[in-house]
Structures are given as structure tokens and as C-alpha cells.
């Protein structure tokens, strides 16, 4: 009987401990989550205004411009239904380029400009972040589907 009580106390403590730890981990998770929004969703104001989120799509050709300070760049990101202007200060990843898929993490400013803290790099030319691929598939614009379809296909062929 005594041993059983002891065991019950242990099990109770363990459950309480795991519960507390899990709730702490989850609440910490909430503050470190960043949601993904497509340019269309941003245009429709579905994005949070006071929190960090991610936006992704293709970098629009001829929009990549370097600012006076030599470090800040601006470019438009599109899902071919809507575009979001993005500003980023710092060194861009090697494979960043016009017409390429990109995911940027940051906040949106009062001026409607997305200020990125981080621009996702990738290691492989034929890799497309899954969110971006999804975004482009949901934006039913013939041209885009064709062009990204090709790059996805060549990615698959690369296997």
C-alpha cells in the first residue's frame, strides 16, 4: 500500500511536470511563430500589422534596386495576382535574383512596405520553398504556372 501511494505521488508529479513544461513550451512557441502570407493575402489586409510574418513569391523582374547607402535593396514580390514591395538591409543570399522564388521574414510598415529582417536563402537552383510553390499554384495565372511549372519540372527531372 505504501509503495503504491509512493508510486502514485511520483506519477502525479511526473504528469504535473510534463504538463507544466508542455504549456510553457507551447506558450513560448506562440511568441516565436511566424505565419506565411501570400502577396494576395497581404493586399487583402489579412496579415498581422504588429507581428513578424513571412511573405513569399517570385521577385519581379526589373524591380530590384539598390538604395544610396549600398546596403539597402528594394524589390517587389509577386504571386502574379498581387505584389508586395520589400525592403531589406544587408547582404542578400547568393541565389537571390529577379525571377527567383523568395521568402522574406519581417514586418509591414505604415507605408505598405514590407521591411524584411531575413531573406531565405536556398542551396540549390531548382529548389522552390513549398509555400512559394503553393502560392504560385493557387494564383491561377497562366504565365506563372507555366514558368514555375517548368522550373519545378526541371527540379523533378534533376532527381
Amino acid at each position: 500500500m505504501k509503495a503504491r501511494q509512493k508510486r502514485l505521488v511520483f506519477v502525479g508529479l511526473a504528469i504535473a511536470g510534463v504538463g507544466a513544461a508542455a504549456s510553457m513550451a507551447l506558450s513560448a512557441l506562440q511568441s516565436n511563430l511566424s505565419y506565411f502570407f501570400s502577396p494576395t493575402q497581404v493586399a487583402a489586409n489579412e496579415h498581422p500589422t504588429d507581428a513578424v510574418f513571412r511573405v513569399g513569391g517570385l521577385v519581379v523582374e526589373d524591380t530590384l534596386k539598390r538604395q544610396e547607402d549600398g546596403l539597402t535593396v528594394r524589390f517587389d514580390v509577386t504571386d502574379n495576382a498581387a505584389t508586395v514591395p520589400v525592403s531589406y538591409t544587408g547582404i542578400l543570399p547568393d541565389l537571390f535574383g529577379e525571377g527567383q522564388g523568395v521568402v522574406a521574414k519581417g514586418r509591414i510598415g505604415q507605408d505598405g512596405m514590407f521591411y524584411a529582417e531575413e531573406v531565405l536563402a536556398k542551396h540549390d537552383e531548382s529548389y522552390m520553398p513549398p509555400e512559394v510553390a503553393d502560392t504560385l499554384q493557387t494564383a491561377h495565372v497562366e504565365g506563372v504556372i507555366e514558368s514555375t511549372g517548368e522550373s519545378v519540372k526541371s527540379g523533378a527531372a534533376a532527381q
Binding site: 513550451a25 512557441l29 505565419y35 549600398g70 546596403l71 531565405l120 536563402a121 540549390d124 529548389y127 532527381q159
Partner: protein
Amino acid sequence: MIPELGHFALILALTIAIVQAAFPLAGSLVGNRQWMAMARPLAYGQFTFLLIAFACLVQAFLTDDFSVLYVAQHSNSLLPEIYKVSAVWGGHEGSLLLWVLFMAAWGGLVALLSKDLPATVMARVISVQGMIAIGFLLFTLLTSSPFERLFPVPADGRDLNPLLQDPGLAIHPPMLYMGYVGFSVAFSFAIAALIGGRLDAAWARWSRPWTTAAWVFLTIGIALGSWWAYYELGWGGWWFWDPVENASLLPWLVGTALMHSLAVTEKRGAFKSWTVLLAIFAFSLSLLGTFLVRSGVLTSVHAFATDPERGLFILIFLCIVIGGSLALYAWRAPEVSEGGRFDLLSRESALLGNNLLFVAFTVLVLFGTLAPLIYEAFDWGKISVGFPWFNKMFLALAPFLALLVGFGAATRWKHDEPMRLVKLLWVAFALSIAVLAITSLPTFSGGHLWVPIGLALSAWLLFSHIAIVRERLKNKQGWRTVVADMRGSGRSFYGMVVAHVGVAVFAVGVTMVSNFEGEKDVRMSPGDSHELAGYRFEFLGAQKAPGPNYQADRGHFIVYKGDRKVTELFPEKRAYLAGGMPMTEAAIDAGLFRDIYVSLGEAVGGGDWALRLYYKPYVRWIWLGSIFMALGGILALTDPRYRTARVRASAPAGSAVGARA
């Protein structure tokens, strides 16, 4: 012709794997000695045919046979010879072939080295290895054969991804795979034991060296990957909590828990069911890692071209492996007798704590890694979990682990006296408190809370282990004992000490670099100087510099500390001729106490460059600590106990051994 030979060898290997999975196991169940005896030759045969297949692929790469699709996609005639070899595992198909080759190599090694294993156990282990091999060989042959031909034959190949043209990455995947696949041996031993219904100290002793060996490879593999990411990606980070990195960390965490749990099972006969469970999960997480990396379901900076269809195959395979082994566990584990009672203050308790902490951290990392999938499945939105969360979770658990390691290594099996521990460890404890006090001073800590904590915990790890070694040498003949220990069965003890000191070294590195690193993105014109963390970086301009298969812009920096010239750095921005992919080649002045790191961003006109400067104090200690851990593992591995033990353990037949505790 030769690629077809390779393909044919793969098919033969699959045939052998099928025979290997069926006959020895069946033989062990019905008591057919001849069928059981097939295990060894089959394991050797499988390895031989996979080696032939692998050699055929290497040959295709070395001779620039671009009629092979995989070669055309991952090589180029301009590629330096050495990278033509490493390009073999530069893509999915080839790395999979390397994976099955290693799998067969581990099987062959078990067959070769475990001469004294009872025939039934050997037969079952090799059969389980065969079953896993069937899965992977089917996967290779059905979805990703590296020997597929390409018509018309292109004039030249697409080239190896420039990021992979690097000595660090040439050896990183083989090490990592050796680790991943190595856990299959621990898994096979566990399954074999479950089939036989015999989980005993002998079983733990057999699988211990294999587990440690796999763990050593995985440790080296992860450390190499981290080092590579640090110098090659040009962001100066050493760990990003990226899904692909987590995929390699998860089996390592469970593998570490398994190593410690096996110690209890071997020495005290306790934790048997738990140890089996860990062995199953260590390998399952290796498979899950493969699935995550190959399927592309998660956004990763490390993701290379992926294919969801392949992911599905691995997912199904993963379900069969986990489901099957857990079902077997549920069926058989209750029959396994529990042994070895122990007191609250004992090494068993400490190792239990170790296991709980490692498993808790595994669950957290797994959850954080899979959270985007969970959210997506429930339609809660597309999320990513920021790395601060992982850091927080790590910091929440790591201090307890560090404290525990010092105590745990000092405690005795079964029962220990509190006073003995106090007597043994109070000096170490006092010294660590002193370190805590000194490093808390604002002049030292710079106001960072974690600096004193991290350094005091490292000090505790170091001093407690010095005390433990002193205790072992007390009343003995000093250094002569060390020599005798190293010749004999003391090696696993010193292995433990070295590995734990490695944790201390690692902790110093992490603490210092996380709190004191400096980083700056700047635009510089030739002749400009910029100051960072007490160093003055002078930019002398960038010039064109041709390479063997690329064209580079090479920057020239002189770094001063005060008036003293510290080093000259030549970071490069390369454009590879095949494919034109740009790549940053950072320049690093490495030192034991600090790295100075410059990477070029882009030319912004007029000879100006956007570039990034880093100051990384103690960053080398992170990898140095990993090397210590791996060395500790190797030392423990060479303990002669495992060799003699096999002779002894194989002597008593039947289940009598299971009763010892």
C-alpha cells in the same frame, strides 16, 4: 555497359537481401542450423554487390560518362578529380546508394567482428538488417536509380552544386550516413532480442560498442556539417535549428540517451524495455530525418531539389518500421523481466535523469520541427518556428543536464552515500561557484546573464571530472594506474571523462560566441577602414581572379588590432562557369580564442562592395568539444571488455543470463 553492370549488381543485392531477410530468421525459429549459417556469407555477399554497384557509379563519374543522367546532372568535365568522387553522393540517388552501401557495410562488420555471437542471435540480427535493406534497395531501384541513361548524351554535365565543391562537404555526408545507418545495428539487435524474447545484459553488451560507433560517426558528421555551414554559407552561423539540421540532431539525441541507457542495462540489468524502445526510436528518427530531407515537406535553407513522391515511399516505409517494431515490442516486452532495483541516490537514477532530459529535448525539437506540418494539417495557417524558440528550449534543459553530468559520473551503482559525494565534489562545486562569482562581474559578463551560468557549468563539468579521476587514482600508483587503465578495461571510463570534458569545451564555445560575437554589414570603398570588436578591417579593393572552373572577384583585407597587423584576408565571390551560379567564399582567420571572418556580398559600383564582417570569439571550441566527444566514444569503443565479454557472454546458453541483476 558499366552503368548497366552497376544496375544489375543492385538488383542482385536486392535478391540477396530478400534471402537474407527470410532464411536466417526462419532458421533461428525452427532450429535449422544450415539456414542460420547462411547469415554471414549473405551479409558479405550483399556488401560485395553494393560495393560493385558503387564502384560502377564512381567509374561513371571519373570517366565523365554523361550518358548517365545522374552524372550529367551532378558533374562536369571541368570539375576537379576529387570532387568528381564526392559528387557521387552530391545528389539524391547517389547518396541513397551510399546509404545502402554503408548499411551493408555495418551488416558485414557485425558478421565479421561478432564471431562469438550465438548463431541464433547472429541470424536474427542479419535478417533484420536484410529487411531494412530490402526497403532501401526497393526505394533505390523503383524511384531513384542512379544508373538511368540519358539520350541524347549532352556534351557536358550540369556541374556539381558549387556549395558542395568543398572538402568539408565531401566527407560530411559519408560520416552522417555512417551514423544514421549505424543505428540500424542497435535497432537490429533490439529487434532480434525481442524476437527471441531475451533481453539481458549480454544483449546490451553486444549492442553497446555498435551504438557507440554509430554515435561517434554521427557526432563527427553533425560537427562537420555545422563547421561547413559556418565557413561555406558565409553567414557565420554554426547552427540554425533548420529542419534538415534537426533531422540529424534527433537521432543523435536519442542515440546519446541510448548509449547511457545501455550502460545501465549492461551493468545492472535494469531499464531493459526502455533501452529497447530507445534503440527503436534512434533508428526510426534516422528514417524520419531521411524523410524530412528528401520529401521537401518543410521549408529549409538546406533543402536541395526534392520530390514528394519519394517522400511518400519513405513515409510508408517509416510507418512499417515503427509500427512493426512497436507491435513486436508490445507483444514481447511484457515477457521481459525487470531487474536491478536501485536507490534514489545512485548512478541508475542519474542516468535515468539523463535519459529523461534527452528524451524531453528530443520531443521538443521534434515538435518544433514538425509544428509547421501539424499547423498545416489542421489548417491553422502556414507557420515557421523561429530559432529563438529552440534556443529557449535548449537553455531550459541544458543547465540541468550539465549539473547532472557532474554528479552522475561521480555516483556509484545501486546505492551511494550523500556524504561520500559531498566529500568528493565539494571542491569542484566551490570552484564552480567561484567561477560564477567572477564571471558575474559586469566587466567580464558585459551584462549577459548566460555568460556566468554557461561558464560556471563548464567549470563544474571540468572540475567534477578532475575530482572523479583523482578519486579513481587515489590509493593507487598514480600515473602508472592510468597507463594500466588505458591498456585494460579502464578505457571506457576515460572515454566517458574525455567525452564529458568535451561537453564542457562545447559549452564554453556556445556561451562565448552567442554572447560576444560581433557582426556588421557594411559598404566599403577601396581604402576604407571599419572597426569591429577592437579589430580594424582595411579594404584594399577587389580584383578578378580566375579559378579552375569558376571566375572570382577576390577582395583584399588587412586586419589590424591597434597598430599591429593581425592578418590578411582574401574573401571571394565566385561565379561558376557551368550554370553561372554565384557563391560566396568567406575568408576566415581562425584562432583558438577568436575567428575573424569576412564575406563579400555584392559589388555595388565604383569598386565598392557590400560585405559582412564578423568577430567570432571561441567559436572553434564548439567543434573542438565535438571532437573530444567523438574521441571519448572511440576510446570507450576500444575497451577490451567488449571483446572478452563476448566470449564469456556466449558461454551460458538459455535464458539464465536474463535473471542476473
